[in-house]
Subunit: 152 residues, 2 copies
DNA sequence: TGTGGAGTGATAATGATTATCATTTAAACA
DNA sequence: TGTTTAAATGATAATCATTATCACTCCACA
């Protein structure tokens, strides 16, 4: 019986093969983490995740791997505004992000209307569009509740 | 006869007064630069501009002033993806940006449909929206032409 | 005209990212 | 299944944008 935890690694390995990226244990773990988790992890979280799962890894490799995956349009980089930490997200399906300015929690939003935005941009500027990113900043439900309590 | 160049400084001074921000020469020049120029300058460009115009200034003051203006929602910070340099833009009227991945030129796009995006985000996530930013990456007309030439 | 709080600026500290380079490894080919 | 080689890894140092520190300056107001 195959361990359940192995499947994501296989899925990641197949994705790497599909994109003709050389297969290494580090790359498999990093990509599988991004493919399965919805926490939009930071570099540090990814680094810790890989080590916790029993693989050796250095920060340099995490940076290199993420850049490689970005270059292949498999993942995107999100600039969470406070603290200057980048966050990363598997993004084969286009979507955008809502970011809590209080706790930095990031949630996905799926909406295909971004295409109209891109068309508007082409019309007004003549740029050739490659990709786009939309980020909404606000307060997540949890932080709304917390801040309400503090106020009275 | 009043020098033409003085008007932007007065406009900036008035804006500072309107927002109850203490008026200093450095702040006037920085804000007037952002209000009149459309080049979405970096910290370095702002620093040089202020000195070129005959005012003393330090990097610390540029950073402090920009943060102050951001806190008052007078300007916004744009993450131009290559090189990690932040760019700044006067943004009393909401708009979004198209960024050339080759030469980093940033152009404004005005389109009020962003409100629908924000509503969609609220519906899907329950976040309370504070503001949002939309960035389109692509090639500006100049770079499209340059790259076409190189190819054959 | 003296005083206090805010603003400025030279400099140091921080910390995320990038570069370096010796060592190890994946995978193409014999 | 070896062998070979270009690519990947990882420890470390270097870089550089941003932030913090703190002495000094400048006004607003008494």
């Amino acid at each position: 019986m195959m361990a359940e935890e192995q499947k994501p690694l296989l899925a990641a390995a197949n994705k790497l093969k599909e994109f003709k990226i050389k297969n290494t244990p580090q790359r498999q773990v990093i990509l599988s983490y991004l493919m399965t988790s919805h926490e939009h992890p930071s570099i540090e979280m990814i680094f810790n995740y890989v080590r916790k799962n029993g693989f050796s890894v250095s920060l340099a490799t995490v940076y290199n791997t993420l850049q490689l995956l970005i270059d292949h349009n498999l993942i995107i980089e999100i600039a969470s505004d406070s603290g200057g930490h980048m966050r990363y997200d598997y993004a084969e399906v286009p979507h955008y992000h809502v970011i809590c300015v209080n706790c930095n929690k990031i949630v996905d939003v799926f909406d295909s209307h971004y295409k109209e935005f891109e068309q508007q941009a082409v019309k007004q500027t003549g740029y050739q569009v490659l990709n786009s990113q939309y980020e909404v900043y606000g307060l997540c439900p949890d932080c709304q509740a917390k801040l309400k309590k503090k106020q009275f």
